[in-house]
């Protein structure tokens, strides 16, 4: 599949959005400007954007606690996302979800999940509705190496394969489940588990290469659209920061040497160099793009900080769809 220059520039823009948004979020956690728990996608931008940009606006995604990148990659506006992280009325979930539970239905983001593996069958269900209603759309489930050892993944893979559902299971293998090195708690290779369920298992060894991820997901999406069923893709990547912002581990299994090796494969720097090398952009254009995204993130932060907190009554809304049930619980 050929990727146009415009698409490649948009990939870089979205990767920058995730990087700068998350760097800002990290700072704001440290300054006490964002409450609760925040997990950044810094270092994993290629894996997120390569996958999201292989999908159409109609396609659905469901994700996990490392959550901001997924809706940003799918095209969400930054302002409502940042406002949600801060807990403001203008947040994409009205301030009721927070960092771990972002959802933006306007771009097909069905929701992130604070429970490891819990959103996997949600993506499967969205594929089921596409199949039954005859709608041309696929679903993609983002989950980590940690969720790869949850039973629900295998129930979901089996059911999707049996019903040939248009769904992609994308394992974001960032090598650590919180503090636990994935290889110490994982038997065999995750991508090879696909064979047992009668679906293609694909390994993207270089998950820092946005085009490699994009190619693998595009192929899986095309297969799904042809009615040939699900695929499992394992993307090898790395988070540059700790599990969660503000979480101080007394012991971090990650060695400085390992971290530095991965940081030398920064997906945004790599792709920038590639775009320039191929003649799709020059240094000045890349700097300008970066400056645009810096401003976009600054605007989002300003919007979040200037927005009002939600009225207390908002806590008592949106549980049920009908007024009678809502009244009964108050």
């Amino acid at each position: 599949m050929t990727v146009t220059r415009d698409t490649m520039l948009e990939m870089q823009r979205r990767m920058l959005r995730i990087r700068l948004f998350d760097e800002q979020a990290s700072k704001m956690v440290r300054r006490g400007q964002i409450p609760g728990t925040v997990h950044t996608s810094i270092g994993q931008e290629a894996q997120v954007v390569g996958a999201c940009m292989a999908l159409t606006p109609q396609d659905k995604i469901a994700g996990n606690h490392r959550s901001h990148g997924h809706p940003i990659g799918k095209g969400s506006a930054l302002k409502p996302l940042m406002a949600e992280l801060v807990g403001k009325a203008t947040g994409v979930c009205k301030g009721k979800g927070g960092s771990m539970h972002l959802a933006d239905y306007s771009v097909g983001s069905l929701g992130e999940s604070g429970i490891t593996g819990s959103s996997i069958p949600i993506a499967g269900g969205a594929a089921l509705s596409a199949q039954i209603l005859g709608e041309d759309r696929v679903s993609l489930s983002f989950f980590g190496d940690g969720a790869a050892n949850q039973g629900v993944l295998y129930e979901s893979m089996n059911l999707s394969s049996a019903w040939k559902l248009p769904v992609i299971f994308l394992c974001e293998n960032n090598h650590y489940a919180l503090s636990t090195p994935a290889h110490t708690v994982t038997g065999g290779r995750i991508w090879k588990r696909a064979e047992g369920f009668g679906m293609p298992g694909v390994l993207v060894e270089d998950g820092q290469d946005v085009l490699a991820v994009h190619a693998a997901v595009s192929e899986a999406a095309a297969r799904a659209r042809r009615g040939e069923g699900p695929s499992l893709i394992e993307v090898m990547t790395y988070r540059f920061r700790g599990h969660a912002e503000g979480l101080k581990l007394t012991f971090d299994d990650r060695q400085t040497e390992e971290l530095e090796r991965w940081k030398s494969r920064d997906p945004i720097k790599l792709f920038r160099a590639r775009l320039i090398e191929r003649g799709f952009a020059d240094e000045a254009a890349m700097d300008a793009l970066e400056a645009e995204v810096v401003r976009e993130v600054e605007d989002a932060v300003k919007f979040a900080q200037e927005s009002p907190y939600p009225e207390l009554s908002v806590a008592y809304q949106d549980l049920y769809t009908d007024a009678y049930a809502m009244e009964s619980v108050l």
Binding site: K60, A62, G91, V92, C93, K94, G95, K96, G97, H101, A103, D104, Y105, L110, G111, S113, I115, S118, S119, I120, P121, I122, A123, G124, G125, A126, A127, L128, S129, A130, Q131, I132, L133, E135, S139, G151, V152, E155, S156, N158, L159, A162, W163, Q317, D318, L319, Y320, T321, D322, Y324, A325, E327, S328, V329
Partner: protein, 332 residues
Amino acid sequence: MTVMTYLGAIGAAQREAMLADERVIIIGEDVEANVYGTTGGGKQRAAQGDFLQEFGRNRIRNTPISEEAIVGFAIGAAMTGLRPIVDLSYSTFLYMAMDQLVNQAAKNRYMFGGQSSIPVVFRSAMFYGLNTGAHHADRPYAMFMTVPGLKIIAPSCASDAKGLLRAAVESDDPVLVFEACPLWGAKEDVDESEYRIPLGVARVRREGTDVTIVAISGSVPQALKAAEALAGQGISAEVIDPRTLVPLDTKTILNSVRRTGRLVIAEPAPKTCGAAAEISAIVAEEAYDALRAPIRRVTAPNMQAPFSPALEAAFYPTAEKIAAAAQSVCVN
């Protein structure tokens, strides 16, 4: 009017819903073969009205034995355009899908600020009183009453089952249906035309003036028997079936207790934190001044269900136990 069993009424409601709306599907273990008798016209698979033949495999789907995936897929499908009815057969199988029911079905609409609606029905049967042992015999509806975001119905007769299930399928929120296996074969006249019973509206099964008996699920027929026996002793008992546990029709219960001044609550679930406990608390808070006697709960003990008929027969509320409780509060 036509005579239907409780189970037949559920099947009739499912057929109505399938015919009325192409977005309605039925998924679950063994639904194609109509093993439990709610996806066919008769007891035999080939009988006229077989759902698989009528609606096709796209909308009638056998699943693997994977409750967590079945429930999660149904939620995801409901969030994206379908209105699934999930047949989970035994209520104890809900535990296998606890994460999906509690963390996804109940929370998504709220957490995402109202972006999603989740029109899905989870049907399951409480196989109690049938010597199936503790892994099948639970009555776990009260456990789910503590989870905001779920609606819960527990029909006690065929006509209610048909109208409540129809309304449940049309609700835009997740609804758990707890069916009482001991009542599966109970027959009564049912209107075969389409009707809905709104969720959250109790039914006064018998009017009375001396004592209010609120009964749930399989305890309703027992309460009606008890009321009949009490009448012979000069005690006039009102029997109320809430039918829906969430949202609960507290108004009908409170109005009755304000008239009778006495309350007995009967349910087949364990006593601790049960529906009876919740109703007791509501009445104590809202109508304390009207009470002329202590509230009495007639429930199953805080025990696991035993297997042997010799042990299980006396385990749940009976008409005799309910009548005795009513008598004890009617002495003054």
